[in-house]
C-alpha cells in the first residue's frame, strides 16, 4: 500500500502530478481540483473510468489525454460497470499469474458527475455496489448537467434556476428537493460512504485514502462548485465551497459500514443559507419578495438535516 503523506501541505506537495494540465475544463473548475487530489494521495497504479460529463469530454479531447494512468470511457452511465469489469479481470489474471507484475497494487476508481450518478447511471452504480466489487466511486456533484448547458438534475437543490427549470414570474426554479445520495449509498451497505469538499483538502485526502484502502465498494460525494452554471466568478471557487460547507448546505461527514456516522467538519461560525445563496447567480431570483419563503424553507431543511446528522453521530447506530 503506497499511501503518500498528507501530514501537511508541504509534504503533500512533493507528490508528482498524475493529472496533467491543458485539459479543457473551465478556468476555476473544481472538478480538476478533486481529481488531482485523488491522483496525488496515492502512489499505487490506478485504473480510472469516467462517466460522460464535463470531466470526460474535457480530459480526453482527441488526440489528447490528461490522464497519466489507465483510463477507460465507455458510455454515459457505466463508469461503475466498466471499472468493476476491469477489477474482476484483474482479480482473475492475478489468480492465474498472467499479469506483467503480479504484486503491483492496483486501485480502481470511477468518476461521475451528478447527472450520471443521481439519474442516468444510478442503476449501474447501484448494481456495482450490490455486487461488492473493490472500487471507489467518486461523484463530482455540481448540481446540474453542466456539460450540456446546465439542465436540472435530481441533484439540483430546490429553488435553483437551471436551463430546464427556469425562474421567472411563475416559477422559483426547481421545485423538487435534492436526492440524498449519501444515505442511499449507505443503505447499500457500502463499507465507506462520505461527503467531502475540496476546500477542506486534508479531510478530503484522508477520505480518498480511506476509500482506496477499504476493501469493497466505496462511494464519495464531493461538492464541485461550477462557476459557469452556479454563476460566480472563477476565482471564487474555493470561497463558494467554504460558504457551502459553513452554511451546512454540504455537511462533511462519513458513514462507515452503512450506519456509523462521523461528522468530519464542524464549522466554528455557521453562516446562513441566505449568505451562501447570495453569492451565486442561480439563486438571484429568490431574493425577490415573492420567493423569499423558499430561502426560509431551505434554511429549515438544512437545520433539520444538521440536527439529524448530529443525533445520528451521537447515537452511534
Amino acid at each position: 500500500m503506497a499511501i503518500t503523506s498528507i501530514k501537511n501541505l508541504k509534504e503533500f506537495s512533493t507528490n508528482n502530478d498524475r493529472f496533467e494540465g491543458a485539459h479543457t475544463l473551465c478556468p476555476g473548475c473544481a472538478h480538476s481540483m478533486i481529481v488531482r487530489e485523488l491522483m496525488n494521495c496515492t502512489n499505487d497504479n490506478l485504473v480510472v473510468s469516467a462517466n460522460t460529463g464535463c470531466l470526460e469530454v474535457s480530459t480526453a479531447v482527441y488526440p489528447f489525454t490528461s490522464w497519466d494512468t489507465s483510463w477507460i470511457h465507455i458510455g454515459f452511465e457505466n463508469a461503475a460497470t466498466a471499472v468493476t469489469g476491469a477489477e474482476v479481470m484483474h482479480k482473475v489474471r492475478k489468480k492465474k499469474g498472467t499479469l506483467k507484475d503480479n504484486d503491483a497494487p492496483v486501485k480502481f476508481v470511477a468518476f461521475g458527475g451528478d447527472g450520471s450518478t443521481f439519474d442516468i447511471g444510478f442503476q449501474w452504480l447501484s448494481g456495482a455496489m450490490e455486487r461488492g466489487h473493490d472500487f471507489t466511486y467518486i461523484c463530482l456533484d455540481n448540481e446540474n448537467y453542466a456539460n450540456t448547458g446546465g439542465q436540472r438534475s435530481s441533484a439540483t437543490p430546490i429553488g435553483a434556476t437551471t436551463s430546464t427549470s427556469v425562474a421567472g414570474t411563475h416559477s422559483y426554479g426547481k421545485k423538487e428537493k435534492k436526492k440524498d445520495i449519501v444515505s442511499i449509498m449507505a443503505a447499500h451497505g457500502a463499507p465507506y460512504v462520505a461527503q467531502l469538499a475540496p476546500n477542506k483538502w486534508k479531510s478530503m485526502a484522508k477520505g480518498f485514502q480511506k476509500a482506496l484502502e477499504t476493501e469493497g465498494p466505496c462511494f464519495i460525494n464531493t461538492v464541485s462548485p461550477c462557476c459557469t452554471e452556479w454563476k460566480f466568478d472563477p476565482k471564487d471557487t474555493i470561497g463558494i465551497t467554504d460558504l457551502s460547507t459553513d452554511s451546512l448546505m454540504f455537511p462533511i461527514y462519513e458513514i462507515l459500514d452503512g450506519h456509523e456516522l462521523n461528522i468530519l467538519y464542524r464549522p466554528k461560525n455557521i453562516i446562513t443559507v441566505e449568505e451562501y445563496m447570495s453569492a451565486q447567480g442561480r439563486y438571484k431570483h429568490l431574493f425577490k419578495p415573492q420567493y423569499r419563503h423558499i430561502i426560509e424553507e431551505v434554511q429549515k431543511e438544512v437545520d433539520n438535516n444538521w440536527a439529524m446528522l448530529q443525533r445520528r453521530e451521537e447515537a452511534r447506530v
Binding site: 503506497a2 501541505l9 508541504k10 509534504e11 503533500f12 506537495s13 512533493t14 508528482n16 502530478d17 498524475r18 493529472f19 496533467e20 494540465g21 491543458a22 485539459h23 479543457t24 475544463l25 478556468p27 476555476g28 473548475c29 473544481a30 472538478h31 480538476s32 481540483m33 488531482r36 487530489e37 496515492t42 502512489n43 499505487d44 497504479n45 480530459t59 480526453a60 479531447v61 482527441y62 488526440p63 489528447f64 489525454t65 490528461s66 490522464w67 497519466d68 494512468t69 506483467k100 507484475d101 503491483a104 475540496p198 483538502w201 466568478d233 472563477p234 476565482k235 471564487d236 471557487t237 474555493i238 470561497g239
Partner: protein, 156 residues
C-alpha cells in the same frame, strides 16, 4: 484568413500535430481508440517528476491552453512562504513545486482563473494577476506594499 491559421497553430499544440502525426479523419476512426500517455514503460510514473517522464505526443502535458488567458498570475519569490495552498487548489496543475518549494507557474497550462491569488495567505499576496502582456520586471516592481491591519475598535 492567414491570421486565423496562425491562431490555430498556437492553439493546444496543433502545431506539433502538423509536424509529425498521422491522424485519422473523423469518418475513418473505428470504435474505440487507445492513446498512450507515455513512450515506453509507464509502470513507475507515480515516482517520476514531470521532467523525468517521457511524455508521448498524446499527453495533454505537451499541449498548451495559454491562449485562453487574458490575465496571468505573476509570482513573487520574495514574499512566498511556501505554504502550497496554490499548489493544492490549482485546477490546471500549473503550479510548479519541487522539494516543498514553490518555483513558479507553468504558463502553458495556466488558464488565468485567479484561484491561486485568492487562496494566497501572505500580506501582500505573493501571487497577483497582471495583464497577459505585462513585463515580469515591471510587474514585480509595481508590487503593492504590505497592508496594515485595520483597527477593529474603530466603531467603538
Amino acid at each position: 484568413m492567414q491570421d486565423l491559421k496562425l491562431l490555430a497553430n498556437d492553439n493546444r499544440g496543433l502545431s506539433q500535430l502538423e509536424a509529425g502525426f498521422d491522424l485519422l479523419g473523423w469518418d475513418e476512426v473505428t470504435q474505440g481508440s487507445v492513446l498512450p500517455s507515455f513512450e515506453g514503460d509507464a509502470s513507475n510514473i507515480a515516482n517520476l517528476k514531470a521532467e523525468e517522464r517521457t511524455y508521448s505526443g498524446y499527453n495533454s502535458y505537451t499541449a498548451t491552453v495559454a491562449s485562453w488567458r487574458v490575465i496571468k498570475p505573476v509570482f513573487n519569490r520574495d514574499i512566498c512562504i511556501d505554504c502550497q495552498n496554490c499548489w493544492v487548489w490549482c485546477p490546471d496543475s500549473s503550479i510548479l513545486s519541487r522539494d516543498k518549494q514553490m518555483l513558479g507557474i507553468d504558463y502553458d497550462h495556466c488558464k488565468g482563473c485567479e484561484v491561486c491569488v485568492e487562496v494566497c495567505p501572505t500580506n501582500p499576496k505573493s501571487l497577483l494577476m497582471f495583464n497577459e502582456h505585462a513585463d515580469l520586471e515591471e510587474s514585480l516592481a509595481s508590487w503593492p506594499e504590505k497592508k496594515k491591519k485595520e483597527k477593529k475598535s474603530e466603531e467603538a
